[in-house]
Amino acid sequence: MEKELLLQVKNLQISWLLDKALIPIVCGLDFSLKSGKVLALVGESGCGKSVTSLSLLRLLAKELKIVGGEILFYGQNDEKTLDMAKVDPRGKDIQKIRGGAVSMIFQEPMSSFSPLYTIGYQIMEVIQLHKDVSKKEAKRITVELLKKVGIADAKNAVDRYPYEFSGGMRQRAMIAKALSCDPLLLIADEPTTALDVTIQNQILNLMCDMKQEFRTSIIFITHDLGVVGQMADEVAIMYMGRIIEQGITREIFKNPKHPYTIKLLDAVPRLGDLEARRRLETIQGNVPGLFDRPSGCAFRPRCDYFISGICDTTFPDLREVSKDHFAACYLYGYGESNR
């Protein structure tokens, strides 16, 4: 039961429709998630991690189109498998899942609640939509939820408006809303980026507890490697719309293989550097723009190991470098076939 597959993304491709031209944003993403597990998608801005997360619930803007691939959601035992990439984004099927079996926490706790309705109303709305309960019952559940996420004086807090909540409280209310219908999958898009360390610590603890209590799977989107180390079972490192390295968190942190991952881990200032005061490693140059995507491996213009004639041909596949650890680089798994 515990290890069953919940979500499988196969060769997902998303493009930006611009004056009839299609600019690729996400180019062939494969990952899967088992129930009760946490997967972290890590990458710099513009790598397509937020677009990916939005596409899972079909919340993409009109200009962004899923041009290929499948998003298979297995759901509960009795439900049939649903390919979310194919359903109508305004249709009944997706609306049933959205906020119900799959829910989302957004980055901006400031702007993700409507200022015109009370916090309680906005959470009750979700509950009444997905569960067959009376208004009174929905309110009772809401108060329970707010209590659970650690909002003091929950009974009165339900009738307050978002502006009366601080950033940390709003993010907690957001989590309460996301958890209101016992989701199987929670997508958290940079849930703590806008918060202070102390509040971040509280929110992460809360999410850990929720994971254990409800066996919710979480897709965690972030660029904070410290948070990843604490939360995730598995990590996928993204660069320009592709996963370039994927594996168990411990493996990725202790034994990174892809040149980009190594540089990325080295570029983060850590407390351990206090004595050493080493210079931070930097990755030369910038992430290329969407319009001048390099041929072959997207990281090649910034890579120290660039091999002309190989790296600039086609994009390397993810190949296994050790057990459950994959990297997409011509340095790994390609040498043998050439010999």
């Binding site: 801005s45 601080s166 950033g167 409280m169 202070d196 360390v197 102390t198 509040i199 971040q200 610590n201 509280q202 603890n205 850990c208 660029h223 904070d224 490697l225 410290g226 990843v228 180390g229 604490q230 995730a232 968190t249 411990r250 942190f253 202790k254 034994n255 990174p256 293989k257 040149p259 190594i262 540089k263 881990l265 080295d266 570029a267 983060v268 200032p269 850590r270 407390l271 351990g272 550097d273 206090l274 004595e275 005061r277 080493r278 210079r279 931070l280 490693e281 930097t282 990755i283 910038n286 190991y305 091999i307 004639g309 190989i310 011509y330 340095l331 790994y332 040498g335 050439n338 010999r339």
Partner: protein, 369 residues
């Protein structure tokens, strides 16, 4: 080390609420409430705290971008300490040559309608420090130092990425060769790899131009990398100031302890830190009595904390704390074991050697075919 800036009992209050015609009892938001500290020449002093603790207000009021309500800001100039607060506007403008600011958001702090050259050169023109060809020369010089290319100078800010824009902002701050820079969250809007570039740049410039920084940030790992000394702020007051190692590993104030323990260790083998700090920062309009931290302090035990404001005192050399029980408490610092996470060490070198070996193997194979 000689003292560059000496701040004494600085207060910045903002009036809040409606002021009625006959009601003089206006309430105040105490953004900065009696802060005293010294900044040494050539150091980077970090200023940390939760949002709303008054970090930015303090940073700006030192430059008098926000007018302080009370206190003294003494700036050392030609071996004399000059009080910035008493300066008239025209004198203050002259003083700004020596103290500049780098802002958080490089997307909104640059004028969209000016070319990079105009942006960097504007302080020179405004202060009549250079004219004609001389401006171009000085702008190019500083732009080069900040890692910008000469051909980029005629472009507009929209053509640049976040990291490049922050370089422009840094060049603008440095063009008059100031001694003191307030860096207000200079890297928090940037990506990890770009953040590292800017942090390195700030460090290099500090050495080359012997700059003094006040470095405001909420990311504690960034501060540990960038600063020699760190000041911790809570609800408009300083609660602790000491050299970086002491703040991180042997904090003396319970608030500092809870901040440090909240840093997520990036070692996946370590268990999650339990949240020490409950609740949220109280409103600075109506701060708690006595020690302002007492409602959240895990060690609060008697009336003294609730009634008596703790003095900001020196407990060991250069280590100031405002807690009644600083000597008695034994507090935990940031996790020591984080030092053992070693990606820059021998293991990594072996990895890099292995990758170079693989690369040359592939190249030889390529040639054979």
């Amino acid at each position: 080390m000689s003292i560059l800036i000496d701040i004494k009992d600085l207060k910045v209050y903002f009036p809040v609420g409606q002021s009625k015609l006959f009601n003089k009892n206006k309430s105040f938001l105490r953004a900065v409430d009696g802060v005293s500290f010294k900044i040494h020449k050539g150091e980077s002093l970090g200023l940390v705290g939760e949002s709303g603790s008054g970090k930015t207000t303090l940073g700006r009021s030192i430059l008098r971008l926000i007018e302080p309500t009370n206190g003294q800001i003494l700036f050392k100039k030609e071996n004399e300490m000059m009080d910035i607060i008493t300066l008239r506007r025209n004198k203050l403008r002259k003083q700004w040559r020596h103290m500049q600011m780098i802002f958080q958001d490089p997307y909104s702090s640059l004028n969209q309608r000016m070319t990079v050259k105009e942006i960097i050169g504007e302080p020179l023109i405004a202060n009549r420090l250079a004219s004609g060809k001389e401006i171009d020369k000085k702008v190019e010089e500083i732009a080069l130092l900040c890692g910008l290319k000469t051909r980029q100078l005629s472009r507009y800010p929209h053509a640049f990425s976040g990291g490049q824009r922050q370089r422009i902002a840094i060049a603008r701050a440095l063009v008059m060769h100031p001694e003191f820079i307030v860096c207000d969250e200079p890297v928090s809007a940037l990506d990890v790899s770009i953040q590292a570039q800017i942090l390195n740049l700030l460090k290099d410039l500090q050495q080359q131009l012997s700059l003094t920084y006040l470095f405001i940030a909420h990311d504690l790992s960034v501060v540990s990398y960038a600063c020699n000394r760190v000041a911790v702020m809570y609800l408009g007051r300083l609660v602790e100031i000491a050299i970086t190692e002491e703040i991180y590993y042997t904090p003396k104030h319970p608030y500092t302890e809870s901040l440090m323990s909240a840093i997520p260790p990036d070692d996946p083998d370590l268990p999650m830190q339990k949240a020490l700090l409950k609740g949220e920062q109280p409103s600075p309009v109506n701060p708690p009595s006595g020690c302002t931290f007492h409602p959240r302090c895990p060690y609060v035990d008697n009336d003294r904390c609730k009634s008596e404001v703790p003095e900001f005192r020196e407990v060991s050399k250069g280590h100031f704390v405002s807690c009644h029980y600083a000597e008695k408490l034994s507090l935990k610092g940031a996790l020591e074991h984080q030092t053992t996470v070693d990606l820059g060490g021998a293991e990594n070198n072996q990895q890099i050697n292995d990758m170079h070996k693989r690369r040359s193997e592939i190249i030889t194979n390529q040639k054979k075919n």
